[in-house]
């Protein structure tokens, strides 16, 4: 009985740890995604190295950046910038 409970508890703890890890990463991503996009935009708007001197490059740099979620592992499956349909 004790062994069974220990095994079940261990299994539950491991599973819960994964879930909590995922939730923590989700919290982190929710904030980091907004912050990173803000930083990217500010960096674009304040860039001084303008191609051909055209300030349109400050506005049209395609900075639709989406931070990688990384709730499972911080890999490259979605390249961190996949479709956002």
């Amino acid at each position: 009985m004790t062994a069974q409970s220990t095994i079940e508890f261990t299994f539950a703890v491991v599973a819960i740890m994964f879930l909590i890890y995922g939730m923590v990463m989700m919290f982190r991503w929710a904030g980091m995604d907004l912050a990173n996009r803000r930083v990217m935009q500010d960096k674009s708007l304040t860039m001084t190295n303008l191609p051909n001197g055209d300030p349109a490059a400050q506005l049209n740099n395609d900075s639709d950046y989406i931070s990688p979620l990384g709730a499972v592992y911080n890999g490259n499956i979605t390249d961190g910038n996949g479709s956002n349909d």
Partner: protein
């Protein structure tokens, strides 16, 4: 437990089941939290992304219109000087349904920006007006709708109507009456009205006849072509005409024998009363003689009064007690009073702190005497006859904004001329004449409020060209006041419909007949223009504007000109999936085909760079 402390049969299994249940429940809660956080965060991510994009896109549109049109001789494009971008999106929301995401996360993002060399570049008759008028760009699920925010009216003759139709709305009638009455004559002279008894503020040269006790009226005739200026609020019975009491200028003979019935005008007058070309020529109630500042007798060319709104510069509750002393009307620039009550800039002739007549008729909102010094703004009038009189100076890039036709909406005037004995001819930019009136005001605008209407409807395709409206989750519609009795539940959405109320049919999306008339159904059931030529309405692709003066791009797919019928023309089997413009009600039904597998569906292009055509 048994009596000896040993577990009963099955008890150990129950403990194991308890642990698994706890794990399942707790895990389910965590997974639910993760899912909720993810869906919310993704929605926030989309919203932030489009808020940023809207601002950058607006500034980019402003810049792109400028960079190719620089220099003094360039043909500037001022359409996006102050660019405004509105995104309406229905983006997918993370879901775990069998066939992928079907839930949509609707949101609206708007941005505006100015990044231009042409901020003060004026319009002119010579330039491509359609490229120079301000445009608001609306993107609904990636489809572009450019709405003009004003119109440019070239050489419009401001003529005086003889009467106003009574079958129009009160708002339109009031506008017409203002436009009809706010005129003054050309060759005018002051002071043809005098009374020692009432001692008018302005010494007048012409004596009145003796007081008639029986009628309690003063026998001071007012000629047809007269402008009477009052210093005080006049509430009733100002103008009283009695049969046989209309005299000539020498006060010796009747000049209008046709006035044979008693006439009492009970309208509430204030500020001034213009009687130019009026059918009335009679007397003024003696009770109000001391309120008369001036009577301006007018003959010859008539002048339309143009108005603008200026701050109230006076602290005197009766500040209209000082009338300008002019050698002619309108006053010369150097004859204007120094105090603000009668003009603060060159060309000003008259100023009134109260609302103008017929606003609204017949019960204007009156400002009590004690409150006049407290009001912040007042109408200021000047004669719309020459550029100098209205403060128009092309060399100095000064283009005045004045209400020219009684709509209480100032327009930006770019040119004005008036031939002797003719009407003023004005070229101006009208902020009320575009697809959307950005300055819509419920107190002065006659049409419905323009813009994106609240509420959207969703439809699903059920076969044989039938679309089923999906009403789910809302049993009571506060807009219509109706309770939805039938709730249809489906898990697919093919169309999302949004409605945009436009101010005018500018023909930038749907064109009328070639001769400019409407395409209407005659008694024989045939659709025809006014010249008899046949025309086709209520169908996809018909009457769509495709020329150089059309909206670019023109994303409307069907034009109809009738709002009635069952089903309504925009809701027929053919037009249902199409973006449809009803030119009668000026409502644009925008249908986003999101999941329609049978045709082209709408999807925002998220690749590439920002672009506004």
């Amino acid at each position: 437990m048994g009596q000896n402390g040993t577990p009963r049969k099955g008890q150990a299994t129950a403990k194991a089941g308890q642990a698994a249940t706890e794990l399942a429940v707790f895990g389910a809660i965590l997974i639910f939290l993760i899912g909720t956080i993810m869906r919310t965060a993704v929605g926030n991510s989309f919203t932030q992304d489009y808020n940023f994009k809207a601002m950058r896109m607006a500034m980019l549109a402003s810049w792109n219109d400028t960079k190719i049109n620089q220099g003094p001789n360039a043909s500037a494009v001022t359409a996006h000087n102050s660019a405004s971008i509105l995104f309406v999106e229905d983006r997918l929301s993370p879901d775990a349904s069998k066939y992928g995401d079907i839930d949509r996360n609707p949101f609206v993002a708007q941005g505006a920006g100015t990044f231009t060399y042409n901020l003060l570049y004026p319009l002119s008759d010579a330039q491509d007006i359609n490229a120079g008028l301000p445009v608001m760009d609306v993107f609904i699920n990636g489809v572009h709708f450019p709405f003009s925010m004003s119109s440019y009216v070239i050489k419009n003759e401001i003529s005086r109507q003889s009467s106003c139709p009574s079958n129009t709305s009160t708002c339109a009638y009031n506008q017409c009456m203002r436009n009809l009455t706010e005129w003054v004559g050309g060759n005018v002279s002051e002071g043809s009205f005098a009374s020692t008894q009432f001692a008018p503020v302005v010494p007048l040269t012409k004596a009145c006849a003796a007081l008639t006790p029986a009628t309690a009226q003063k026998n001071c005739q007012v000629d047809n072509n007269a402008l009477v200026i009052f210093s005080d609020l006049i509430t009733a019975d100002v103008l009283v005409g009695t049969a046989g009491s209309v005299y000539n200028s020498a006060n010796t003979a009747l000049v209008n024998p046709s006035l044979t019935t008693p006439f009492v005008d009970t309208a509430q007058w204030q500020g001034f009363v213009s009687m130019y070309n009026s059918s009335f020529s009679g007397q003024i109630n003696k009770s109000y003689l001391n309120a008369i500042l001036k009577v301006v007798q007018t003959t010859g060319t008539q002048y339309k009064l143009f108005y603008n709104i200026v701050p109230n510069g006076s602290t005197d509750p009766q500040f209209m007690q000082t009338a300008p002393t002019c050698s002619q009307h309108p006053c010369k620039n150097n004859e204007l009073s120094a105090d603000r009550s009668f003009g603060s800039y060159a060309g000003t002739d008259l100023m009134f702190d109260l609302q103008r007549i017929y606003n609204p008729y017949p019960n204007p909102s009156l400002v009590p005497d004690s409150m006049r010094s407290s009001i912040g703004w007042e109408w200021q009038a000047t004669a719309g006859t020459t550029a100098n009189m209205i403060g128009l100076n092309k060399d100095q890039q000064q283009y005045p904004s004045l209400d020219i036709d009684g709509r209480l909406r100032p327009v930006t005037i770019y040119d004005i001329s008036q031939a002797p004995n003719g009407d003023p001819i004005v070229s101006y930019e009208d902020p009320d004449g575009g697809d959307i009136d950005s300055g819509w005001d419920p107190s002065i605008s006659c049409g419905p409020k323009p813009g994106l209407l609240t509420g959207s409807e969703i439809f699903t395709f059920t076969g044989n060209g039938t679309y089923l409206q999906v009403n789910e989750g809302k049993m009571f519609n506060p807009e219509s006041g109706q309770v939805v009795r039938s709730v249809n539940k489906r898990d697919t959405v093919d169309l999302v419909q949004r409605m945009i109320q436009l101010t005018n049919n500018t023909t930038r999306f749907c064109t009328p007949c070639a001769d400019g008339s409407a395409c209407v159904q005659n008694s024989n059931g045939v659709y025809a223009c006014s010249n008899g030529n046949g025309c086709v309405i209520n169908g996809p692709g018909t009457n769509l504007c495709t020329g150089a003066n059309c909206a670019n791009p023109n994303s409307v797919e069907a034009c109809v000109s009738e709002s009635s019928g069952t089903p309504r023309p925009c809701f027929t089997t053919t037009n249902m999936p199409l973006t449809c413009y009803d030119t009668t009600s000026n409502i644009l039904y925008v249908r986003s085909r999101l999941q329609d597998r049978r045709g082209t569906f709408w999807m925002t292009n998220t690749s590439g760079q920002l672009k506004v055509q």
